[in-house]
């Protein structure tokens, strides 16, 4: 029996990349479990922190007005934790898949290393933005916390992933044309 040789067998990405991806998934699971286990404590902490900073959240001291503001902030606080859980889980898998493609396709050593580094750091860092956003809401309010998380985490790490993915796509297209 003869087996047709694979023209381009898949290559496994470096071990540290796999470790980062697995750690990202582990953090997602821990985050999800903690979110469920400490839901009441987290909500209480966030509520107390918000009540301690009425000016930041625009609280006016009238219950009928403030309850809506607090409710929205708490819903977003919870959403940030959930989105961290989901993104960290998903990006762990994305890191494994994309770095495997990069390890297989990118022949040039420097390009391969840079693409893999960008995909790994970007993929692992991006979900942390949701955790940062969530943690900052009680102290800085919804919009300011979002702005900080965007500039500190989402934009740099998200951009790293996007740049690496386009770079990789370009390499693949070149390879297809070159055939």
């Amino acid at each position: 029996m003869t087996v047709a040789a694979e023209p381009h067998p898949w290559r496994v990405p470096p071990r540290w990349v796999l470790l980062v991806a697995v750690l990202s998934i582990v953090c997602a699971e821990l985050g999800g479990a903690s979110m469920a286990r400490f839901k009441v404590e987290l909500t209480r902490w966030a509520r107390d922190a918000m009540l301690a900073r009425p000016a930041v959240h625009g609280l006016v001291g009238v219950r009928d007005v403030d309850e809506r503001i607090l409710d929205e902030a708490l819903v977003k606080f919870d959403a940030g934790l959930r989105l961290f859980h989901m993104h960290a889980e998903g990006m762990g898998l994305v890191i494994i898949a994309t770095t495997m493609v990069a390890a297989t396709v990118a022949r040039a050593g420097v390009a391969r290393r840079v693409i893999i580094a960008l995909l790994t750091t970007g993929g692992a860092g991006y979900p942390v933005g949701y955790l940062v956003w969530s943690a900052l809401i009680p102290a800085y309010g919804l919009e300011r916390a979002k702005t900080i998380a965007e500039w500190l985490v989402w934009i740099p790490f998200g951009s790293a992933t996007i740049v690496a993915l386009w770079w990789l796509t370009g390499l693949l297209v070149l390879r297809m044309i070159g055939r």
Binding site: E67, D71, T161
Partner: protein, 209 residues
Amino acid sequence: MTRVMLALLATLLAAPAAAHHVGAYVPKDNAVTINFKQVKFSVQARKFDVALRLFETGALRAEMRAHAATLPAGLEDGTRAALAASDGPEVERRLMIFFAALARDLALEADRRLAEAGGTAESRAATGRKFLEAIWRYYNLVDFAVATRDNKTSVAVRLAFDEAETYVKPATGAAAPADPARLRPPLQRIAQVLSTLIEASTTHARRDS
């Protein structure tokens, strides 16, 4: 295999389009509005015993007691008596008075806050916007009941509310920036129109009893 890789990357590149998704907030009912809806639907289903139980154990009655100083005398007892007597229209009228009073008190409080000096135009507009949301949350529950009894009042409140909203909208594009100073007259009009409604409805009830 290259094609498979390209397809995989194309799928992944579509993801950043939804980047920075931070969820959407849908405002929820509070304990008072939930209890109001429970009582209202029980009355509409002519289950007055259920409505009475929900009223006696719910947030609506507690809120009536908390606001007793600014409400017409005997509103809580009258509501309970109307429920016990299976008098649907009377229950609706009394709840209408209650929510109109809540909305009026919020309009008065908003006007008082806006009269105070200090704060930027944006922060004052934001405060005004939040008060308007709270006023509408309560008034909206009884607008139909108000309109069926006194259409002019309903129209006057809604017009004043629409006007107030235009002064607190955040500036977008060519739209004028928020002007919280102009918010006070429509708020005062809301408070005045609702006060007249409460007074008229209470007097009408006294005459009927």
